[in-house]
Chain length 361, copies 2
């Protein structure tokens, strides 16, 4: 990827690019919708707009990532997520395991050691107690695996038809020992962009479990706790940022980091690890695997000099065997993600628009 | 209340009482139900059974109260609650204010200084954005009033008919400076039992807001942050335990403390502060105000010598003006709550059975 491309991205002229960025920026903080749609929960553009226009003015740090919070001379990471995945049980996992791992991962990519997780259930009247028991036991196993403690719980019940079986919120608290180490402000042009493994496994596994695709595959969700992998990565070199690529996929994470760090991200399409089953499903659905949800994959931005060591550290861990360097950070145009295809072309990768795969987490 | 009553409670012989206790104990840890009912979310007996039979074996501290958690030499209090109240807006408050205050109160009664609150929304597709905005702004105001910071957020959207407008989970983190000070193990026979004000206001306000009762009153929910009141109480003397009396009301809190501390609690009915409107609604509904939910009231167990000072401290605070000493802790029979009526009789006060007032929080 020659540096001259920073002033010309494939078929886009610099002027076109700048106009596009301006359009994106104008769009971001306005919430024109009068009613909530599933897009607002999909993690992409509409979620981002909702956060910027409605939550940020009222709350401090309203994003999906862990917030850092001072406590009597210590730094906590705190994160919250509700899970509404359908079906509750799917190849490779279930809502309980997903909820614990998801919260553990939000803490881990913030550079925290995950310690405590709470569980808040909303149950629909008539839910079989056996279903709840399976979910609760799965959460206990996931907590044990991730070495976190489930410390507080709550159960509410709503009448039939007022919820869909079982929703669960998990909120996590972790300890951050080096609060200044990671962050969008640490990202520099020239940094390498890595992904810890194949993309789109979780989203595809959920679609297959629903029977929306008439496919029979052995594909399973990648739900897993990433805390060990994060710790190994942090030991390997100068890591500037880590993000778990859940709703909205790798594409949305890259867009968020490009906007927050005011950098461009250039990705090489052929370097992105994608399973054949996921590629096949993606073609049927017409969705780029880069937008598909993962539940055990992270994106890391690493100083160029340490990219090799970081890749090696990830590949040495069972959850990072298929890790890859997928691109690099550039100075211009800020806020933009573009992808170089195997055929020599380039295209802009925007945030996820709409909600092509609802209720995947 | 003469001490001789510890061997005879009104019309109950000691033998009858012991048999009853045995029956309650046998019942507690078994979960015979095959399906979830609204009772499991009501905070009473069924919730208790669900916790003991299903959550406790899998989780550490699964109760509704704040858990204490060690963090690098500090002690955190952590608590989680989901809110499914219907209607979303009611006289005296709304779901957002309720959620922030409820979480603040769980931390405050655990002796913690509430610091951080997270917000996890589950929205039904089609919810007016304006409704969400009102709730979010109400949460921001409540957080400001309670001097806590809203630090992390999450939004999920489910299709129409898969939720009821808006549910929100709030999880709170606070700092505990004296972890050994409060707890069921500190409760002693002879301790005084206090309540911080009138009971049943919230539950009644919700029922009236739903139009279930054809009453027109000025009654409003008592939703309020109790952290200042708790701090004042802790300064006033030897407080052994504080609990906020939410779902299941004061009766359920007293039963929980009787079981946990293995003591009896004797209450004088005429000393319980109840508003006329609440008493009227309670008669129509056939529900004792002692079982009705409060969202700004606490029960405190205080060393007898400091009961007067504690009462004075509460009455000096705007949220405790109608505080009262309502009874005392006794040694026998352990696990039992009984009430002395104005007519000289006594009756056993069990935990809430069933769910007479669903979705009040």
């Amino acid at each position: 990827m020659p540096g001259s491309e920073s002033s010309r991205i494939g078929k886009w002229s610099e002027q076109e690019v700048l106009e596009r960025i301006e359009a994106i920026r104008r769009r971001a903080p306005r919430l024109r919708d009068e009613a909530i749609t599933t897009s607002h929960g999909a993690g992409g553009r509409a979620t981002h707009t909702l956060i910027e226009a409605l939550f940020r003015p009222a709350f401090g740090n309203p994003g999906g990532d862990a917030a850092l919070a001072a406590l009597d001379g210590r730094t906590l990471a705190v994160t919250t997520d509700s899970y509404v995945v359908s079906p509750l049980f799917f190849p490779g996992g279930d809502i309980g395991e997903l909820a614990v791992n998801g919260t553990v991962n939000d803490l881990a990519v913030a550079g925290a050691r995950p310690l405590y997780v709470t569980a808040g259930f909303i149950l629909e009247e008539g839910l079989p107690v056996e279903t709840l028991r399976r979910v609760v036991e799965s959460m206990a196993r996931a907590a044990n695996r991730a070495e976190v403690q489930l410390v507080a719980g709550d159960t509410k019940v709503v009448p039939r038809g007022k919820a869909d079986q079982l929703f669960v919120n998990t909120t996590g608290v972790g300890l951050v020992t080096d609060p200044g180490r990671l962050g969008a402000s640490r990202v520099r042009p020239g940094d390498a962009v890595l992904v810890s493994g194949t993309v789109g496994d979780h989203g595809t596994a959920i679609m297959i479990a629903r029977g929306d695709l008439e496919l029979e595959t052995d594909l399973v969700s990648d739900t897993a706790p990433l805390s060990e992998l994060c710790a190994a990565l942090l030991e390997a070199g100068e890591v500037h940022l880590m993000r778990d690529a859940t709703r909205g996929g790798v594409a949305t994470v890259l867009n968020e980091l490009a906007v927050e760090a005011q950098v461009a991200v250039a990705i090489r399409e052929e370097s992105i690890p994608v399973r054949d089953e996921v590629r096949g499903a993606a073609e049927i659905l017409g969705i780029d695997p880069m937008y598909m949800a993962n539940e055990g994959k992270l994106v890391a931005v690493v100083a160029a000099a340490d990219a090799g060591a970081a890749l090696e550290a990830m590949r040495s861990h069972p959850l990072g065997r298929e890790a890859a360097i997928i691109g690099e950070v550039r100075a211009e145009p800020p806020g933009m993600v573009f992808i170089h295809t195997a055929f020599g072309g380039s295209r802009v990768v925007d945030m996820l628009i709409g909600d092509p795969l609802p209720r995947i987490c």
